[in-house]
């Protein structure tokens, strides 16, 4: 079934790239903006700033008081948020059709005139909120900081993906109002932003509204730097052991991958599916089902643009089992995959699961708008929503083997191991009660 979500595209004279994708099945419109700034743009001593800035975008602008952005849209039936990631910051709301112009007016006010309203008080308050966000999502969770360790282990110091989006709290403490002003002037401008309208609106009406509210903003973003060159795979295994109080040992086994939207990245992602991403992956079959040395096995490939992507496998080690045994089995399975390549059934399963998850994402107007903005901002190709599955179908077993040989060799792995401390291990073996059942 070929996909044919409509993509109408226009670029305003100030550089704002706009897509309107009509869909009249629901009386809603999603407004989705991606700004070309993420944690990859942050420099040493200034980490976490893109995300802190995102919070400030809800604290008022020239004609909007602090908190009013949320209140005004929610009272009209809007559902909204914003997120920051390595490669970008996004802002989005889904509103009833009749409120789309209000949404655009609010967005234009903060994307054009934020600095009129930013205060030291708001900066201090949102810095505290972000610190609580870090405590809640990272510091106070078992294994919560594992991915931060993964980034640091896989990417060299100074590389855009070496540090996490949440950043360092010391750096946030150092952030001043002057930094907020400089950051806004450098990155927040129509020529570094894309805007998608997806839903119950025609292209003519959509372009007219965007032009009316965003047409007057000046193109003022600084020149974008070139992407980093593709990072080669790691040559010697990297290892980080953390001894913490955790319910069971957990291994994160990570690899550098080719940048997103390349044939090689797609092939490497399929390889990771076969090894650990599928419900019937080799690691699940062997470690979870047959040997039962792992409680779970998962694999993920995150496509990124700035010189590398990231792939990783997470293995939850069963209580009482040595993590080294599980890691050795992982290496064996990796070697076997490199030697024999994927089976036809594995390729079929990987494609079928990717197809369902892609179609499920597109089924929601919000996610469709986000995927359009994503590929418009980072790859200048919003049609990817329609063509991605065709590209996946074209991936061959040979490409998968070749990508795995280049990117997923055992010596190219970085392992971050969260291991229960000696005391914790004693306690666990007593409490887990695995003997009682087995």
């Amino acid at each position: 079934m070929p996909l044919d979500y409509p993509i109408h595209r226009r670029t305003l004279p100030n550089g704002l790239r706009v897509v309107v994708s009509p869909d009249h099945t629901v009386p809603n419109v999603t407004v989705n903006l991606w700004v070309g700034v993420g944690s990859r743009h942050e420099t040493l001593g200034r980490t976490g700033f893109a995300h802190l800035f995102e919070h400030l975008m809800f604290q008022g602008s020239r004609n909007v008081r602090s908190g009013e952005h949320f209140e005004a849209l929610m009272a009209e039936g809007g559902r909204l948020n914003a997120t920051t990631w390595f490669d970008r910051t996004n802002y989005f709301e889904t509103v009833p059709t009749g409120a789309v112009e209000l949404a655009l007016w609010l967005e234009a006010d903060r994307h054009g005139h934020l600095l009129d309203a930013v205060t030291q008080e708001n900066l201090d308050n949102q810095r505290d909120v972000v610190k609580e966000e870090k405590r809640q999502r990272y510091d106070n969770q078992p294994y919560g900081t594992a991915l931060i360790d993964v980034y640091a282990a896989v990417f060299p110091e100074g590389h855009p993906y070496h540090h996490p989006t949440i950043g360092s709290m010391e750096d946030l403490d150092a952030a001043s109002l002057a930094d907020v002003h400089a950051f806004f002037r450098r990155y927040y401008a129509p020529d570094n932003t894309v805007l998608t309208l997806c839903g119950d609106i025609t292209p003519d009406a959509g372009f007219e509204l965007v032009e009316r509210h965003f047409g007057g903003l000046p193109s003022s973003a600084g020149k974008a730097r070139a992407h980093h060159a593709q990072l080669e795979p790691i040559t010697e295994p990297v290892r980080v052991d953390r001894h913490e109080v955790v319910p069971n040992d957990r291994l994160h086994i990570a690899f550098r991958l080719p940048v997103d939207e390349t044939d090689e990245f797609l092939a490497a992602a399929v390889a990771l599916d076969c090894i650990g991403g599928l419900g019937t992956s080799r690691l699940v079959k062997r470690l979870v089902r047959r040997e039962q040395t792992a409680l779970g096995a998962h694999a993920t490939a995150w496509g990124l643009v700035d010189g590398a992507s990231l792939g990783f496998v997470v293995l939850d080690v069963a209580p009482g089992v040595d993590a080294a045994t599980v890691e050795a089995a992982f290496a064996e399975e990796l070697d076997a995959f490199l030697a024999g390549g994927p089976t036809e059934v594995e390729l079929e399963a990987s494609l079928a699961q990717s197809e369902r998850s892609w179609l499920s994402a597109l089924a929601s107007q919000e996610e469709r708008a986000d995927l359009i903005s994503h590929h418009l901002l980072l790859h200048d190709d919003p049609e990817v929503v329609n063509t991605h599955l065709d590209r996946l179908r074209a991936v061959t077993a040979e490409q998968v083997v070749a990508a795995a040989h280049r990117w997923l060799r055992p010596q190219s792995r970085a392992v971050v191991a969260y291991l229960g401390s000696e005391d914790a291990a004693d306690e666990n073996s007593e409490d887990a009660g695995s003997e009682a059942v087995a």
Partner: protein, 450 residues
């Protein structure tokens, strides 16, 4: 240049999608939602049961039965079954609530028949192989440890244990405890499956783009052949009885925690409440549904103590709760709890404002078309209606009741729940928390181990 703030045109009237209803030969009710453009179909199977009818000492058996449905059938072993699903892009989950078992499947449109056939196999012909039983039970025991390590899970468990009377099923985790799961055998599971999982009273929901899909034919040929001769329906569950000493503060000691997880609860209604459900989501929104809601306006936007605290009514099939939950940094726990309880009690004392009523009603009513825009969301809601034994026009009727709500309706609904007595659970560093609570909370503070 800035333009004048635009006016908002009122939304068109909207109703929840109407399902086509059909009764299959074996008595299973089918509810089909044709949603053009939704190419991934959502299939749900609802089997009414009552968690309270689990054999004493074997709590968790229903949840473990659900998890084992696709781990080996008379036709396929667990690996073969998983492979069949995966090659068709199908994903299956199964779980239980207080009032039933729910199987949850998403699958691309062209594979509906395969998926429905596999679901029939799972619910009808699961054989509970000994090795899979051992593995799933062992994984549940490990999961219990993982839940203990997570502050939010640990808080939810302690809240249930404190809020509901001893002996109430609701006081224990749905998936059972170390003791009760440890007591389960394969024979228990086989027997429970044979007598508790069957087509009597069951409902199948299918939602998505059904153009060209012969739904009745596909389902008759698959789930329509489901039979379970020993299946017997049990009476619907009753609302759990609150504990006589529920109004107290329990600190779960989680040494060195940088935050305190706060969970404040009270018994609440289910969605069939004779007073009407409509005020409840409005109250949730006004108190704890956004950064501008009463709680976060103070604890997040003014004080910066939290990333966000949410309040919500949590209806069960029978009864329910009203829970406010979130985390604050450890040092401010005492002050944060005092502020939070003051806000919760203050709303009961002084009532809600006209602005709050309007904003909350508009939010809940006007977000409905978007909240129910995907096959997945519609299938979930219709399955919930079936599980809760609610009429199929419930969702639309509740939405229609919203514009007529008054401040008195909101105040009355909230005062039925908020009586100045709360169950407060705090998961964090007891050494920091307990002294800080002195003079800030009423009654004794009990500390328990993680």
């Amino acid at each position: 240049m800035s333009l004048v703030r635009p006016q908002v045109a009122p939304p068109r009237p909207w109703t929840y999608p109407v399902a086509a209803e059909h009764l299959m030969g074996n008595g299973v009710r089918v509810l089909a939602h044709d949603l053009p453009g939704q190419y991934v179909l959502s299939l749900r199977v609802v089997v009414p049961t009552a968690l309270s009818a689990e054999p004493p000492g074997k709590e968790g058996i229903a949840a473990m039965t659900a998890r084992l449905l696709d781990e080996g059938t008379s036709a396929h072993d667990a690996e073969a079954f998983a492979e069949l699903m995966e090659r068709r892009g199908m994903v299956l989950g199964a779980g239980v609530s207080d009032g039933g078992l729910l199987v949850d499947v998403d699958v691309p449109k062209r594979h509906l028949e395969t998926a429905a056939g596999l679901v029939r196999e799972a619910v009808a012909d699961a054989i509970f192989p000994e090795t899979e039983v051992r593995r799933i039970l062992r994984n549940r025991l490990a999961e219990i440890e993982q839940e203990r390590a997570s502050a939010s899970h640990r808080a939810a468990k302690e809240l249930a244990r404190t809020l509901w009377a001893p002996g109430e099923r609701a006081a224990l985790p749905t998936g059972g405890t170390r003791e009760t799961v440890g007591a389960l055998t394969r024979d228990d599971l086989v027997e429970f499956h044979a007598t508790s999982v069957g087509p009597q009273g069951a409902t199948v929901v299918v939602a998505g783009d059904l153009t060209g899909v012969p739904v009745a034919e596909v389902l008759e040929g698959t789930l329509g052949t489901w039979s379970a001769p020993r299946h017997r329906q049990v009476p619907p569950p009753a609302a759990p009885v609150p504990a006589p000493d529920a109004a107290r503060v329990v600190v779960v000691d989680r040494p060195d925690s940088v935050q305190t997880e706060i969970s404040v609860g009270r018994p609440g209604p289910d969605r069939s409440t004779p007073h009407g459900w409509a005020p409840h989501p409005v109250i949730s929104f006004v108190l704890g549904g956004s950064p501008s809601a009463r709680i976060d306006a103070v604890l997040r936007e003014e004080k910066g103590y939290t990333y966000g605290i949410r309040s919500a009514f949590r209806p069960r099939v029978a009864g329910g709760s009203f829970v406010t939950a979130g985390s604050v940094r450890s040092e401010v726990t005492g002050e944060a709890v005092e502020i939070l309880l003051t806000i919760l009690d203050g709303a009961a004392r002084a009532g809600f404002t006209d602005d709050e009523l309007r904003a909350g009603v508009d939010y809940v009513a006007k977000t409905a078309p978007g909240r129910y825009a995907t096959a997945d969301a519609v299938a979930d809601e219709t399955a919930a209606l079936a599980l809760e034994r609610l009429p199929l026009d419930f969702t639309t009727r509740t939405l229609r009741a919203l514009p007529g709500l008054t401040r008195d309706d909101l105040d009355a609904a909230y005062r039925r729940v908020a009586r100045g007595e709360w169950t407060v659970v705090l998961v964090g560093d007891a050494g920091t928390i307990v002294p800080a609570l002195e003079g800030r909370v009423a009654g004794p503070v009990v500390t328990v181990d993680l």
